[in-house]
């Protein structure tokens, strides 16, 4: 199945949900409405001629723009067809919540925790949405563009001297 076939198939199935599809040097990126990400994920995993059954990564991007500030990117791989696919959703700053895809790919669990830790994007329905790297009592999200490189003074406790 070629990339254009895949785009046709997704558009026939989901219509307006597919916001954009772009190809760069053979790599396909599909931008999806964030409310529908679980449905699209389920589809690309279970459809036999797609079968994207392995999640490679789920990550956040801070585009630092007024509309749809964050992006969450899912990189998935089909073991049987040996093909990659990128799924992307845009997330606004005022309501940074995305439905979780851990029900489709359990391997997304820690990737979504990392994205929550670093960007503050929450994943609705995630079974264990705790911080992955930073201490649990930490209040900020370090990979946001407005977070200073050296951190916020006294936001991380040191032991007594």
């Amino acid at each position: 199945m070629t990339n254009s076939d895949l785009i046709e198939k997704l558009k026939a199935r989901f219509g307006e949900t597919i916001l954009a599809a772009e190809e760069f040097r053979g790599d396909l990126t599909i931008t999806v409405k964030k409310e529908e990400i679980v449905g699209v994920a389920e589809f690309v995993k279970t459809e036999p001629d797609l079968a994207y059954d392995l999640i490679i990564d789920a990550l956040g991007v801070d585009m630092y723009r007024p509309e749809g500030r964050f992006e969450v990117v899912y990189v998935v791989y089909s073991l049987s067809h040996k093909r990659y696919l990128r799924l992307k959703v845009r997330v606004g700053e005022e309501d940074p919540v995305v439905p979780t895809v851990t029900g489709v790919w359990p391997g997304a669990n820690w990737h979504e925790r990392e994205t929550f830790d670093m960007f503050g994007v929450r994943f609705a329905g995630h079974p264990d949405l705790r911080r992955l790297y930073m201490p649990e009592e930490f209040e900020f999200h370090p990979l946001r563009k407005d977070f200073p490189l050296m951190g916020i003074p006294d936001s991380l406790p040191l032991p007594r001297r």
Binding site: P135, F147, L149, M150, G151, L156, L158, P159, R160, R161
Partner: protein
Amino acid sequence: MAIESLQRDGFLTTRLDEVINWARKNSLWPMPMGISCCAIEMMATASPRFDISRFGSEVMRFTPRQCDVMIVAGTVTYKMSQVVRKIYDQMPDPKWVISMGACASSGGMFRSYAVVQGIDQFIPVDVFVAGCPPRPEALLQGLMALQRKIEKDRTIGSLVNREQVWIPESPAAGKAGQPA
């Protein structure tokens, strides 16, 4: 003089501090706090080529309760700082700390929100060893610097002299007073 009396009488006189410090500095048991790549050089220091046992420090113990000197070898993040401090607290006195390498001493190349910019912010450091990572010779030099530092330590010997230790049954007991 001392050697002559040893040959003649079978004993010698010296300062208690000298004996205690001599014993301490020649059997420093390290706590290998190997957190990142400096730990590889620390392991090489224990290898036959560099042979840290020449300085009496070959007994690396992975329980802090049997250690005298903690070698912090690597990048200490804020999250890890709690662990480093807890392990330091579990070591019995007297205890020393060697900060090995640029990361432990100053944050090194990790000038970032997650990394403590020098472990002396939360534990007292005796010797800083420069390098990224320091070669085994540099760590040995740091160890020797620590030994010279320990030679000058005031231990129980000088405390007795200054009557700060209460020793029952000793002639000085009457005027030494109660322990602090």
